[in-house]
């Protein structure tokens, strides 16, 4: 068993306690609701694209600490970046969470690597991925998404949550 204690690091606990960019943008150009029907977690992601650049982004919802911290750090990271950059991060974050990413190789995750521990906790992988999944849905104008949505591009078998 991996050191799961490592997952609940100070940075994650801090983002859980004081989530950044918490709320909803009133005049969002893109938005989506994300659900994890297996645990009842749900959150919304609202954002404004200025051309290809993410001008503003916010999230709101009810979830566990892993999901909330992931959402908070996601919004802090992608704000001001381009949509293409964000999509790269979405892919890399997801690969990290399911253990497909070589953290010692080239990637753009930076401090987000703090979530690497979820790969050893199959039931918690979806908690960490949900915000990213929802951001992806927002970019693609999918109003509502779920970690169990078969037809979603983000969907892949990731353990029995």
């Amino acid at each position: 068993m991996a050191d799961t204690k490592a997952l609940y690091q100070e940075v994650i606990l801090d983002h859980n306690k004081k989530p950044r960019n918490y709320g909803r943008l009133g005049n969002a150009s893109h938005k989506a609701e994300g659900h994890n029907p297996l645990c009842g977690d749900h959150l919304s992601v609202t954002l404004n694209l200025d051309g290809e650049r993410i001008d503003g982004i916010a999230f709101q919802g009810e979830s566990c600490a892993i999901c909330k911290a992931s959402a908070s750090m996601m919004t802090a990271t992608v704000k001001g970046r381009t949509r293409a950059d964000a999509e790269t991060l979405i892919q890399e974050f997801r690969d990290m969470a399911i253990g497909k990413l070589d953290l010692n190789g080239h990637h753009h995750l930076g401090r987000l690597a703090v979530f690497a521990g979820v790969r050893d906790l199959p039931t918690r992988v979806k908690c960490a991925i949900l915000p990213w999944h929802t951001l992806h849905a927002a970019f693609n104008s999918i109003a509502s998404t779920s970690t169990e949505a078969e037809d979603d591009l983000m969907h892949a078998p990731i353990g029995n949550a």
């Binding site: 068993m1 799961t4 204690k5 997952l7 609940y8 606990l13 859980n16 297996l38 645990c39 009842g40 977690d41 009810e62 979830s63 566990c64 600490a65 892993i66 906790l121 039931t123 918690r124 908690c127």
Partner: protein, 419 residues
Amino acid sequence: MKLVEPALKPQLASTFNVERIRADFPILKLKVGGKPLVYLDNAASSQMPRPVIDRLVRYQTTQHANINRAVHYLSETATSEYEESRRKLQCFINASEDREVIFTSGTTDAINLVMHGYGRKFIGAGDEIILTTLEHHSNIVPWQMLAEEKGAKIRVVPINDAGELLIDEYEKLFNERTKFVGVMHVSNALGTINPVKHMIAFAHARGVPVLIDGAQAAPHMKVDVQDLDCDFYAFSGHKLCGPTGIGILYGKAALLERMQPFKGGGDMILAVTFEKTTYNTIPHKFEAGTPPIAAAIGLGAAVDYLSAIGMDAIAAHELDLLNYATEQVNRMPGVRIIGTASMKAAVLSFAIDGVHPHDVGTLLSQEGVAVRTGHHCAQPVMQRFKVPATSRASFAFYNSMAEVDALVAGIRTVQKVFS
């Protein structure tokens, strides 16, 4: 419910030798992440003692063949052991005849059998089925499927803030269209023990049959289906120290005989032509195909094991565990127990302020403590208490007071991490 004073605890524990019982369960010696396993997820599935494991090995190594078919030695042996197990289950729940005991794959399968075999034949458009807010999804969804198919209606008994059924409201739900009642004996999410004997008598006075979901009761208390006078009683083997994939539906013979088969196939027939099939007698009418023979025999060994300890002794020890755990957790600031019925089985659902149950579950697992976190397949209960999920410690007779202490220490650790 009378709380046990801490001072009395060692004295009570000495009357029930939990350490000797624990020695029968190989899995309880496991370490999880270097810490001793504290298994408190018994409402989801219980662990298996050595005599049941040994019985499965003996069956597979010396007795296995298909049953009810060939005349050779092994087939006759397997058939007779399978039927012997049925008689053990009959005794365990005090059914009047062994043909009233049907092997199913579990509680869910048993309830679906009643829905298809009884419901689809005897419940029609405009008829009403009474269920309760406490029900597990397995005693909701089959009836919704039936209601949708037939145009029947589901009525739901509400609960109070303690998680107890409002019996006055239950009684008010009856009318001339009421055709069926489905109620759980013990709540898996909250531990509430429902007054099913009264509920059955009330329904019977109005000619309405009652199914009891006994999944959480059979492992923890003496069940007497004749005393309850229930029409159907369903439970699972794997919550009863037996294997997965096996369960029991008890049904009154007269009702079972009037029901249509659930699954068609081998073993459930007397004669088949392409023009007509004559169904077998009960219980075989409901046991199509090759059953999980080893699991059925293992379940027989499991009820032998439990009966040797005694269901009353098991219930008493589990009540001690519940009272001790309730008292300890009630003393903890920031922890709320959900489900405070006056009659409870050893289930402790709780919420820690500011901490999501899934974080509780992961952090407790780090301490070696296994609890269930989630909606417990009882989303209506979660909605009633306005929580998305709870953490649930559910005890078995092989749990010790020291394991309650480990749970309490684990909760403190969770609070410290999130402080």
